[in-house]
């Protein structure tokens, strides 16, 4: 158990031009917390994790585990365990040997190793596979062995680098829940890297969104969803993604020539009428309204039936200056391509306003 802290930590790759893969990262992970690092490819999330593991150097700033500065400490002395995306199981060792390898290197007693491997195997439903080699296991089983190898160590921090991305969709959802439950049970501080925002939202106590090596926002999933600090986080978190359209502040907000009225309080600091903004409206904040009601007209391009509800994708605004938006509407709504639907805001809907230049939140 330990608290983890990135203190203005940077990782700079030189070679041609200098690239700051992780740029002055300040992040504190509480003891026992499940923190998810999320971001698109190249956002520096994996690099940040590898810096914590000690596999990647820290060019500026410090990294602390349990209050100790480990910036210059060798990976093996950081008391961490890591689960890799490709599992990195030792192919020539059995499942049991894979799980016990670290303990053997630590000269742990034979009985103790056996006990801990057996415990972890029982926890992960691997008892019957202990004598098998990794190649005789399914993808899900290999993933569990990789987890088991981390668990037997009883480390103070778990590091997980996209541990589910090689599983098929169904198994991924199942394993996602298992890992989250296991982490709560073991109460071991965990830093988890993923590019999948659904994984991030469902698993993390808090989620840190990275972009180009810079931390954008670190907050609980709910807050991230409800109050993204900028248009990047707004567009990244949530599925389908938030609609971000150019708009002008009037007595509400004007999108493609149509004004949607929102409470003055929702406009926040934007009081000047005529201010151009980037308006963010989640697909679930839109609803179908009648032709007489206030709303924006959308020409349907595509309709995705999901069973529970329907995503309607279409264009608003005049040709040449139109925006592509997505609306989430009840199942059974008929929306053939080419048809025009009128969309209004649902009652409790939040409209997020961002600065069109900087992307910062305005309201």
């Amino acid at each position: 158990m330990a608290e983890v802290q990135y203190d203005s930590a940077s990782r700079i790759f030189s070679g041609g031009s200098e690239v700051r893969a992780v740029d002055a990262l300040d992040l504190r992970v509480a003891d026992g917390e499940f923190l998810v690092l999320v971001g698109p490819s190249g956002s520096g999330k994996s690099t940040a994790l590898r810096m914590l593991a000690g596999l990647e150097g820290c060019d500026e700033g410090r990294i602390l585990i349990g209050g100790d500065d480990v910036t210059a400490v060798h990976p093996k002395d950081r008391d961490i365990a890591m689960v890799f995306q490709n599992y990195a199981l030792y192919p020539h060792m059995t499942v049991g040997e894979n799980m016990g390898f670290a303990l053997r290197l630590r000269r742990t007693g034979k009985d103790e190793i056996q006990r801990r491997v057996a415990d972890a195997a029982a926890m992960l439903d691997l008892t019957t596979y202990l004598d098998r080699k990794p190649k005789a296991l399914s993808g899900g089983q290999r993933q569990r062995v990789a987890m088991g190898r981390a668990i037997v160590r009883e480390p103070s921090v778990f590091l997980m680098d996209e541990p589910l991305s090689n599983l098929d969709a169904k198994l991924r959802v199942e394993t996602r829940a298992n890992i989250a439950a296991l982490q709560r049970r073991l109460a071991t501080t965990t830093v988890y890297v993923t590019h999948d925002q659904v994984e991030a939202m469902t698993m993390g106590d808090r989620v840190a969104v990275l972009r180009d090596g810079i931390l954008q926002q670190c907050a609980a999933p709910r807050e991230l969803y409800d109050r993204p600090v900028n248009s990047f986080v707004a567009g990244f978190i949530g599925s389908p993604a938030m609609n971000l359209v150019a708009a002008t502040v009037t007595d509400g907000i004007e999108i493609a020539g149509t004004t949607l009225r929102i409470p003055a309080s929702a406009l926040g600091s934007v009081t000047q009428a005529g201010t151009p903004v980037l308006a963010g409206i989640r697909p679930e904040a839109l609803r179908l309204v009648g032709d007489a009601d206030e709303g924006i007209d959308m020409r349907v391009v595509l309709c995705e039936e999901l069973g529970s509800d329907t995503y309607v994708i279409g264009d608003v605004g005049a040709d040449g200056a139109s925006h592509r938006i997505t609306a989430r509407v009840p199942a059974g709504v008929r929306a053939e391509p080419g048809r025009t639907l009128r969309l209004g805001l649902s009652e409790s809907a939040a409209v997020h306003l961002f600065d069109p230049d900087t992307g910062d939140r305005l309201n």
Binding site: A53, G54, L55, P75, K76, I80, A81, M82, F84, Q85, N86, Y87, A88, L89, Y90, P91, H92, F101, A102, L105, R106, K133, P134, K135, A136, L137, G139, R142, R149, R153, N166
Partner: protein
């Protein structure tokens, strides 16, 4: 159309295969025929000797002629030189490949390229300088001279093969996982790297073994004593006498050809590359 084409190409392949087999086996067959012929029938020009005899073979095995009076010792010499050379090449090349492909220093590319560049100069060009070097080290007449020369010439190719395999077939995450598990470079080398490098090591080991086993020029230059020379030199010496005993020579040559054949068969299966399957998901 398609089946006819594939039948045609199969026929062509078989034809090439047969041609190659004949090309390869004909000299061996000739060796066998000569070795089975009695001394007075050596050049009778028959496809099979009229009166085949094993005398030549028993002469070799019992060291019953001055040309083969040290046969067993020289066979042992050949084996010793080949095995030690193979072990030496493997030791140097696996360590170098580990350094180049796993520790990945900046000069890795330069090292592999410059190692391969040594092949620009043919071995025979270097015979005299090497002879001089071995004389300086006082190694002339010692089998270590031959072993060192073989290791020198075998290692660059071995390094190249092993580092290619290590880079392509052993994911770097294995090293990282082992590092986090608490393994240092030596332990990773012995417990992770070497076990996974078995398939290319078998190939490279056989290569180095044969390189030493087949070496004539260096062996001829470095080893002049009957008791230290290897079989190729013995075979060469047959030609020094006035009355060349072709049948004994061919019998010796057949014995000499046997170990490589046995080694190929013994390790045939190990040359498959399935050993890293399952460790990581690709």
């Amino acid at each position: 159309m398609k089946t006819r084409r594939s039948a045609l190409s199969t026929t062509a392949l078989v034809a090439v295969g047969v041609l190659l087999a004949v090309w390869t086996l004909l000299p061996v067959y000739h060796m066998l025929v000569v070795s089975l012929s009695p001394s007075d029938e050596l050049f009778a020009g028959r496809l099979w000797p009229e009166d085949p005899t094993l005398t030549a073979f028993s002469t070799v095995l019992t060291e019953g002629d001055f040309t083969v009076e040290r046969f067993w010792l020289q066979l042992w010499n050949s084996l010793f030189v080949a095995v030690v050379s193979a072990v030496g090449v493997l030791a140097i090349a696996t360590l170098a490949a580990f350094a180049v492909a796993r520790l990945r220093p900046r000069w890795a590319g330069l090292l592999t390229t410059s190692a391969l560049a040594t092949y620009v100069i043919p071995l025979s060009f270097l015979a005299i300088p090497l002879y001089k070097a071995m004389a300086n080290y006082n190694l002339l007449g010692s089998q270590w001279a031959l072993i060192l020369a073989t290791i020198t010439f075998g290692s660059p190719y071995a390094l190249w093969v092993l580092s290619q395999y290590a880079r392509a077939s052993i994911p770097s995450e294995l090293d990282e996982a082992a590092t986090i598990d608490g393994a240092g470079a030596w332990r990773i080398y012995f417990q992770i790297f070497l076990p996974l490098m078995r398939p290319p090591m078998v190939v490279v080991g056989i290569y180095a073994f044969l390189l030493a086993w087949n070496e004539y020029l260096m062996a001829f230059l470095f080893l002049s004593e009957e008791d230290s020379m290897t079989l190729p030199v013995t075979l060469g010496n047959f030609l020094n006498s006035d009355q060349i005993q072709w049948n004994v020579m061919m019998a010796t040559a057949l014995f000499y050809a046997l170990p490589p054949v046995l080694i190929y068969y013994a390790f045939q299966r190990n040359v498959s590359s399935g050993s890293t399957a399952g460790g990581v998901k690709n």
